[in-house]
Subunit: 409 residues, 2 copies
């Protein structure tokens, strides 16, 4: 097919799109923004709320806002707003710190949980006991996970073993303490089989840690349903929380009493204002907190999450797959054969909400695309990355992106 | 003396105050705000800058702002703005994460530096080697430091030994790896002797880590001059960065090549966008970075730091001591004998920028003070805490606070 056929198809798909009205809730322009998997667009609900947080809550109420404006409880309150988007009941998620810091909490916490399980005697102070001294980490994952997992391994006396997600079932053993996996690969957009991998990990007596950065807000995760042990994620991609907005940590309710954070800051104390020299962890998800929460960024995120009030994650997933299907179809139609090769799997079961195309001279191609108003990003060494945020990307955008891409060759 | 004498004295002091004009740069009201040691007041430079960061940088430029708006380099750029306030040359401070997280980086990093020094062979992977397996921590300090130091000790195979700062010189030995001290005690307002303690710690072959939360922006610190090894601090007290604004980490230039962070996130990689599986730390202070920086809070802080452009920290210190001297004088004058007892040392060499008064039923007394427009805070079990921010507190405020306090008894 060609332009005369793809354009009307895009119009038809846009006309039938039940989420089309959501776009009005975001600040957008006439570019095609396919980089929401890196930084989500600005929700219109955010600027006024940030201004209120700065001028009234900080400027006028000052210190009183810790109580009166709900600053103190923001990490768990906002965690509970994220919870339904990742299939978690309330009380299991706290927001705060960066994804990297939360990966550290989760991996060390996982090793300690596994050590406890191993001998049943609660040697939480001695990870690697119970014979479980190996951490498996997705070698193809976003590199910070690997770097932080290596640090966690070094500090807990474990060995880090890089594997691909496919290799996990075969690599699991009675030595495995924890397994850190990305739900969707940041580069290829491949979606991994969370339910089956989690089940394998747990059958081997190990603890699963999932990084949801590229799946939360783009597809159903089902943390509770699939029995995930621990999970982390960022909030500035499909959750549109703003640049560097705080990440989150999920600790399954059943693990909370024994979750033993390597970052036991005063905010996770059972009585934080008692300011006692002895540390007693708070119950529940709160023990994932560390220091004073970053309120301005936190409240921007809270406002951004309001756009989810009337949207189901299933509807998001349906549209996301339709968008990536249509993009692949348009690329097939517009781009000369052999100029690009999709790294993103075709089966829906294996696809996140992005399409990664391998292409010669990809850095330059992406620069030219951006000059033409099609915003994706480039990943070393040869990948064009296009993210599809169903809340604000339409089928007309998709057609235009592929058409402009075709004109590059 | 009494009111007829103290009021004119306050007026005279205010008239002679060279920093009096700075108050106009802050959003304040007719209360007496003596809680800037908990949350600094809003600088007038902040709201417009935050609005620009949200609406233009995020809303319009979106992902391009990582380069075009200088988001990516904000942690080290803002670190360099803090540097002169704590007596550091550029290139040694990065901003990001909470104080607690930075304490963790610093204490683990210190143990590793000490281990390297101990045997000279670079066993960075095995802290506690070289026979240095003890961490001294100020037992009277803000508790998060103790909790985090305990976690760092547990993960590095060290023993944590709580001491008072006075006990440090006698407690140092060839076993001491690191010593974590607060420059000013959060409860009593006592200023510890940083130059002399740092010298003792280093003479014993150990690494000094200073927590500057209650001193940075209130008095000269002299990190470079006094040879401090590592330091951390928050930015929401005397630096007025806003609620939960990001903290900072100082790594002395000479230590940077061997500083080995326990949180080696992708932002601290020498080539972060190479996204290679192997971790190579960036040179300089950048290796104290971890994950994606929290931009909105970071840029609010950057705007807040502009108020320091025309102020010397020596002038701040001079006024701070005059304020606390005058407050103690007014308390002596207005408050019935025996009703309160100052926990803050009289000698200037031992005083930070706050006054802590022990008092019966202190929680209720503080509530009544706040109702009367005098904002301090209460710390368990019996402490009224008054912080004096020289940038915006005047001598008339001080007189009024003491007078209202006197009316409580």
């Amino acid at each position: 097919m060609s332009e005369p056929e793809m354009r009307p198809k895009a119009e038809k798909l846009d006309a039938a799109d039940e989420l089309a009205g959501m776009r009005a809730q975001f600040v957008l322009d006439d570019t095609v923004y396919l980089d929401g998997n890196s930084l989500g667009a600005l929700p219109r609900s955010v600027p006024g709320r940030v201004e209120d947080a700065v001028r009234r809550q900080w400027g006028s109420l000052r210190i009183r806002s810790w109580d009166e404006s709900g600053w103190w409880t923001a990490p768990e309150r906002i965690g509970d707003r994220i919870a339904p988007l990742v299939g978690a009941a309330p009380g299991q998620i706290v927001v705060g710190d960066s994804t990297s810091v939360n990966v550290f909490k989760a991996v060390v916490g996982a090793v300690r949980l596994a050590a406890e399980k191993g001998d049943g005697e609660g040697h939480a102070g001695r990870p690697g006991s119970g014979g479980r001294d190996e951490i498996l980490v997705d070698a193809t994952t976003f590199p910070t996970d690997g770097y932080i997992a290596a640090s966690a391994a070094r500090l807990t006396g474990c060995t880090l073993r890089p594997v691909t997600p496919d290799e996990v079932p075969g690599a699991l053993s009675e030595r495995t303490a924890a397994v850190l996996l990305n739900h969707v690969d940041y580069r290829t957009g491949r979606l991994h089989d969370l339910p089956s991998l989690t089940a394998s990990i747990q059958a081997a007596g190990a603890i699963s840690v999932w990084d949801l950065c590229h799946s939360a807000g783009a597809l159903p995760v089902g943390l509770d349903e699939h029995g995930v042990d621990l999970a982390v994620g960022c909030t500035y991609k499909y959750l549109n929380g703003g640049p560097g907005s705080p990440a989150y940590l999920y600790v399954r309710e059943a693990h909370q009493p024994r979750f033993d954070s390597p970052l036991p800051g005063w905010n996770s104390h059972a009585d934080p204002f008692g300011m006692t020299p002895d540390y007693t962890p708070a119950p529940g998800a709160l023990r994932g907190r560390v220091g004073t929460p970053d309120i301005l960024s936190m409240l921007a995120l809270e406002a951004a999450l309001e756009v989810w009030d009337d949207v189901s994650i299933d509807a998001i997933r349906t549209k996301s797959l339709a968008l990536t299907d249509f993009f692949l179809e348009c690329v097939e139609s517009y781009v000369p054969g052999g100029a690009v090769e999709s790294l993103t799997p075709s089966p829906h079961m294996q696809r996140g909400s992005q399409v990664a195309l391998r292409c010669a001279d990809a850095g330059n191609v992406m620069r030219r695309l951006i000059d033409r108003g099609v915003i994706g990003d480039f990943r070393e060494p040869d990948v064009l990355r296009f993210g599809f945020t169903p809340l604000y990307v339409g089928f007309g955008d998709v057609e235009r992106a592929a058409r402009v891409l075709g004109e590059m060759f």
